[in-house]
């Protein structure tokens, strides 16, 4: 497997793990409170829709000429990646609330109880919430699978990395029977933002006609440069908001921040 393919698989795996953890929280909340069978039906239906999206758009994208594909997909990936990275920096800097799966689980469970008693057999509320949760979280993964995979003509590899992440998260969730609150989601989102932005910039520029010095090896400079810039921005934000705490804090960028000030 080449370095670019490892980067592809790793980026998709991390992104999918993060989204799967978020979807799992929703499914666990409605499943445990109301109906497991209806929750699983919602998960299954959403998975079929997501697979159909990847299957429909994957071949269409990979049939584009390589330069047009790279500038289009690289640009989209860069725009998308910068959104992820900005949110991760804001969370790390203490400006935006971090994802707290236990809190989200409690909110979803309360909403499920407030929706009234579940019906025996098929429960429409549970199905809809599980379906929407998995579909909405999964759309971002489908987008990443398509863009990353199409650019390298390895949609199947990207889909396999996503599938592995879903299986691992589902297994961990089934074993724990609780939200996976200990998964370092915010750090993983930071990493995904860096990878999407780096690969998006690399492919976008190549598609626009530029040649990177060293070819693919340029990624070994681009990824650390984007990471260092993002860490510096988060540090500046923290220092601006909490000057005293920043002097003492030292640790991973996205997990060491002060408590959030503003809700997501």
């Amino acid at each position: 497997m080449s370095g670019a393919e490892i980067g592809l698989a790793l980026s998709v795996f991390l992104a999918c793990t993060v989204e799967a953890v978020e979807a799992l929280t929703i499914v666990l909340a409605v499943g445990a409170t109301r109906s497991w069978s209806s929750a699983m039906s919602g998960v299954g239906a959403a998975t079929v829709v997501l697979a159909a999206i990847v299957a429909a758009f994957g071949p269409a994208l990979t049939s584009l000429p390589i330069d047009q594909l790279r500038v289009l997909v690289g640009g989209l990936l860069l725009i998308f990646g910068l959104q992820w990275l900005r949110k991760a920096i804001l969370r790390s800097g203490g400006v935006k609330a971090k994802h707290d799966e236990l809190e989200i689980f409690a909110e979803e469970r309360e909403a499920a109880r407030a929706a009234g008693a579940s019906r025996p057999g098929f429960d429409g509320y549970t199905f809809t919430i599980a379906f929407k949760g998995v579909l909405l979280e999964g759309l971002e993964v489908a987008f990443i699978v398509l863009t990353f995979g199409a650019n390298q003509h390895r949609v199947a590899l990207a889909a396999a990395a996503a599938g592995l992440a879903v299986l691992l998260v589902a297994a961990a969730g089934a074993a724990a029977r609780a939200p996976l609150a200990r998964v370092p989601e915010n750090t993983m989102k930071f990493a995904v933002g860096v990878m999407l932005s780096s690969y998006g910039m690399f492919w976008g520029a190549e598609g626009a006609g530029a040649s990177w010095p060293g070819g693919d090896a340029a990624l070994l400079a681009i990824i650390p440069a984007i990471l260092a810039s993002a860490v510096a921005m988060a540090w500046i934000l923290r220092r601006t908001l909490h000057p005293a705490a920043t002097a003492e804090a030292a640790g991973p960028p996205a997990e060491a921040a002060e408590p959030a000030r503003v809700s997501a």
């Binding site: 725009i79 900005r86 759309l139 987008f143 976008g204 626009a208 990177w212 681009i222 934000l237």
Partner: protein, 67 residues
């Protein structure tokens, strides 16, 4: 709102999000890269400072709006 309008609005929000300045900046940077590369001049150097600059401006705008 028609279904088509709702679809395209959803697509826009999904891809571009709440910061269209960054999306516009990416498009301009890629266009500039293409123009320079078309003139047979090395163009790889356009994107790195553009991307880091766009990210810094985007973070600054978001932080200012939220505080």
């Amino acid at each position: 709102m028609t279904r088509a309008e709702a679809f395209f609005r959803g697509l826009w929000e999904f891809v571009v999000g709440d910061d269209w300045w960054t999306a516009l900046g990416v498009v301009i940077a890629l266009a500039l890269t293409a123009l320079i590369a078309d003139a047979a001049i090395a163009a790889w150097w356009v994107m790195p400072p553009a991307v880091i600059g766009l990210l810094a401006l985007s973070v600054r705008r978001a932080a200012r709006d939220r505080l």
